[in-house]
């Protein structure tokens, strides 16, 4: 008995208890949505405040002039302390967002490999730095939350802008990235929505990523349209979300109502979307799909793996091509 690894044992016991929680808590908004019964637009007061000011600005100037949303560069010490404490919630790898942390093992290679392949195809052979493969890529992480996906991409050399409509999340992410000066140079966090970004950054990103976000937005078509507009010709859009199937319905019911693992209302099954629907919207907006692949979370090993079946979680990679743009008469200004 003396050789038993007690942590391993307690981990197994925990696993048995949690099961679907992680799968269901893939929501980046779960903290907030449990407080707000039904957000009118994905996001929260911070954003509404932002939108309001931009509207007033427009009225005053009479001539609307787009101004790039300002990045959060400085926050005072008191806030750092407060948000650092909250950051621990996001960055505790065995905590509430565990499944998002481990999902990086799938989505980071997917993004990296696809972007490099795309780039090599477009510009012939190019030397890729093995430790900084994403150097030179400009990426937008939509719904960056605490920065769980933003930081790894920045670490691989990409210049990443993380946008999140929640001011709190942005400050949490900002407080966390400050610990690594070198990484902080590659990352900017902006409190904004994708629609705000379109005003100034249309067709400027090598990649736009909306991971575990689509299932939480109010107007999906508008959201996806804005995402597509941000991708530059030849650039990529990556999505991961939940399918609208009986399986995913059961998963939500099981975790939210039977096992009470996640707060009720974290996920709204009605907002889930099938890959076909997403693909249709993307095509309409000038993107052609390159890959649709199912993802499977094993609650025992707490790891993700790729599977054929897309009935619960899936990922989509689409590319903004000239043909698709012309075919759907999407104009690039």
């Amino acid at each position: 008995m003396k050789y038993i690894n007690y942590r391993a044992l307690s981990r197994i016991l925990q696993n048995l208890r949690i099961k679907y929680e992680s799968q269901m808590s893939t929501s980046k908004w779960s903290v907030r949505t449990s407080q707000e019964t039904s957000p009118s637009y994905p996001l929260d007061s911070g954003l509404r405040h932002y939108s309001k000011t931009s509207i007033t600005r427009c009225i005053q100037n009479n001539e609307p002039k787009a101004e790039r949303p300002r990045a959060q560069t400085t926050i005072d010490q008191e806030e750092i302390d407060r948000f650092s404490a909250l950051a621990q919630l996001w960055w505790d790898e065995s905590g509430e967002f565990e499944a998002l942390h481990t999902m990086n093992e799938l989505r980071v290679p997917l993004i990296t490999d696809s972007l490099i392949e795309q780039n090599t195809k477009a510009s012939g052979k190019k030397d890729v730095k093995i430790d900084q493969p994403l150097e030179g890529f400009k990426i937008l992480d939509v719904g960056s939350g605490g920065g769980i996906l933003t930081e790894p991409l920045g670490r691989l050399g990409a210049f990443v802008i993380g946008v999140d409509a929640s001011e709190e999340n942005i400050k949490i992410a900002q407080a966390h990235v400050m610990h690594d000066e070198k990484l902080a140079r590659n990352i900017k966090y902006i409190c904004a929505t994708v629609e705000d970004m379109v005003e100034t950054e249309e067709r400027s990103f090598d990649a736009v990523i909306a991971s575990e976000v689509v299932e939480h937005v109010a107007d999906r078509d508008m959201f996806l349209k804005a995402c597509c507009k941000l991708v530059k010709p030849g650039g990529s859009l990556f999505l991961t979300t939940l399918n609208k199937t009986r399986m995913s319905y059961l998963a939500v019911v099981a975790s939210e109502r039977v096992l009470n693992l996640v707060a009720r209302g974290t996920h709204d099954w009605n907002k889930f979307v099938s890959p076909e629907e997403v693909q249709y919207t993307l095509t309409q907006n000038g993107l052609s799909t390159r890959l649709v692949h199912g993802m499977m979370y094993n609650p025992l090993s707490k790891r993700w793996r790729w599977i054929k079946d897309t009935s619960i979680n899936y990922a989509i990679h689409a590319v903004c091509t000239d043909e698709a743009l012309q075919l759907n008469k999407v104009t690039v200004e």
Binding site: D76, T112, D131
Partner: protein, 458 residues
């Protein structure tokens, strides 16, 4: 935001860090064989070439290692898996240029009965293990590290005097998110990952509150370099279990062998003090004497081997006689206490233990250091994976993979060795009988023996 608050942020975050504090990616504490190998592996890891790695070593820089003529009394038996790691680090060529001795055959027997077991690869071509002096191993690794490690900062004469682990508060009451180390030279290091390679009395293991299991074997290992009578192709490793503990002779050179004799503390003290002649006599006696032979076991054992020989022809004892020792190298006798130490976890947030810091076992199978080098190979691979995914090197998910993978390999080895040590420390007739019959059965079944060889070399 006011200028004042910006100033405040600047003060807190940069002023204290500007002069003395350095932010690095990985700190390896302990520049012994395992710690230096870890540094060497990261030095040659492409994913880490732009990351900062610091190796802390309390001893001073000995410069380039020059091979002394006299053999050292501290040696390791390196398994083929370890050799593979050294080959990948380029250190094996360095060792080959110095000296090493291959082991082609092993014979294990005991003092209470005639049972024995031998291991060798069919054709005596592949080696079971390699005996290399510790100094040679460390010299080779340090040479490679200095030649390749642009990203590794080796701090000699330096050790950590204070640690602050993630979540602990510093003097300004700010919670630490990385590991922070105060060094003996007054510097402060902040690191994403601290690798503890600081030996079986690891201060990192203690400071980070790792739960540890510790069993004192109440034995001491006496080491010495012995001179053998016959000058032959010395490639056999010998081990005899005595009732006080095993004695092993490992080939070092043409007529030199390295001895590791595990015995009672009292006997060990005595063996270190007695004149060289008496010491040689004591060693020969330990290898040859028949005093402990149990007559009951002998008669049962003989009829058992006869019966088994009828079923499995060719399973007759092929006992090779052990060599005769004629001398001991001057001042080569030393002893150290033996214990089993195992940390229940090898990792915590931003901390990983490798080598003896995580696990220390009885030297009877010569596996201890090989397990340590196995840790290096495994951790290096997982850190590469982590970097490929853009992860933080201190990310617990990856560290837990290291822990799981290593414990899956180490715990069975440890239990086996601890079990063998228990099994052979008794003279109780039924147990002696059972272990003798069991050993002989295994010896007669090549399938099982080949499995054991495979296990021991991986």
């Amino acid at each position: 935001m006011s200028i004042k608050s910006i100033e405040h942020v600047f003060k807190v975050h940069f002023s204290s860090t500007a002069i003395l504090s350095e932010k690095v990616d990985v700190v390896i504490s302990g520049g012994g064989m395992v710690g230096a190998s870890m540094a060497c592996a990261l030095a040659q890891n492409e994913m880490y070439r732009n990351k900062k790695v610091v190796l802390l070593e309390a001893a001073s820089d000995k410069g380039e290692f020059i091979l002394p003529e006299a053999y050292s009394n501290r040696t390791c038996s390196l398994s083929p898996a370890t050799v593979k790691l050294f080959e990948s680090l380029g250190a094996w060529d360095e060792i080959k240029n110095m000296r090493y001795q291959p082991v082609k055959r092993m014979q294990v027997w005991e003092s209470c009965s005639d049972a024995l077991i031998t291991f060798n690869n069919e054709d005596l071509c592949d080696n079971l293990a390699y005996i290399v002096e510790n100094d040679v191993i460390l010299g080779a690794i340090m040479k490679r590290l200095k030649a390749t490690g642009d990203n590794v900062d080796i701090k000699f004469n330096t050790k950590a005097t204070n640690y602050r682990f993630p979540g602990e508060k510093d003097e300004n009451d700010h919670k630490e998110s990385l590991v922070s180390l105060e060094l003996s030279n007054g510097q402060t290091l902040q690191t994403n990952l601290l690798i503890g390679a600081d030996g079986f009395q690891s201060s990192i293991r203690k400071k980070a509150n790792f739960h540890t299991i510790h069993t004192d074997y109440k034995q001491c290992a006496v080491v010495a370099t012995l001179q053998l009578a016959e000058t032959f192709d010395n490639t056999v490793a010998w081990q005899r279990f005595l009732k006080t503990g095993p004695i092993a002779l490992l080939p070092l050179g043409p007529n030199l062998s390295s001895m590791v004799w595990s015995t009672t503390a009292e006997n060990a003290r005595n063996l270190k003090q007695i004149p060289e002649d008496s010491f040689v006599d004591a060693v020969n006696d330990a290898l040859w004497h028949d005093r402990d032979k149990n007559p009951v076991v002998s008669s049962v054992f003989n009829s058992f081997t006869d019966a088994l020989n009828n079923i499995l022809p060719g399973s007759l004892l092929s006992k090779q006689l052990p060599p005769t020792v004629i001398g001991v190298q001057e001042k080569s006798r030393a002893s150290f206490p033996l214990s089993l130490t195992h940390s229940s976890n090898y990792v915590k947030s931003r901390v990983a233990l490798i080598g003896d810091a995580a696990h220390r076992i009885h030297p009877l199978a010569g596996q201890g250091v090989n397990l340590g080098f196995g840790d290096v190979a495994c951790l290096n691979e997982l850190l590469t994976n982590c970097a490929k995914h853009g992860g933080d090197p201190g990310s617990l998910t990856h560290l837990l993979d290291y822990e799981t993978e290593r414990q899956r390999q180490i715990i069975p080895v440890m239990v086996t060795i601890d079990g063998l040590q228990c099994l052979y420390s008794t003279t109780l007739t039924p147990i002696v009988l059972l272990r003798s019959l069991g050993l002989h059965t295994v010896h007669s079944l090549d399938i099982i023996k080949n499995q054991i060889i495979k296990q021991a070399s991986s």
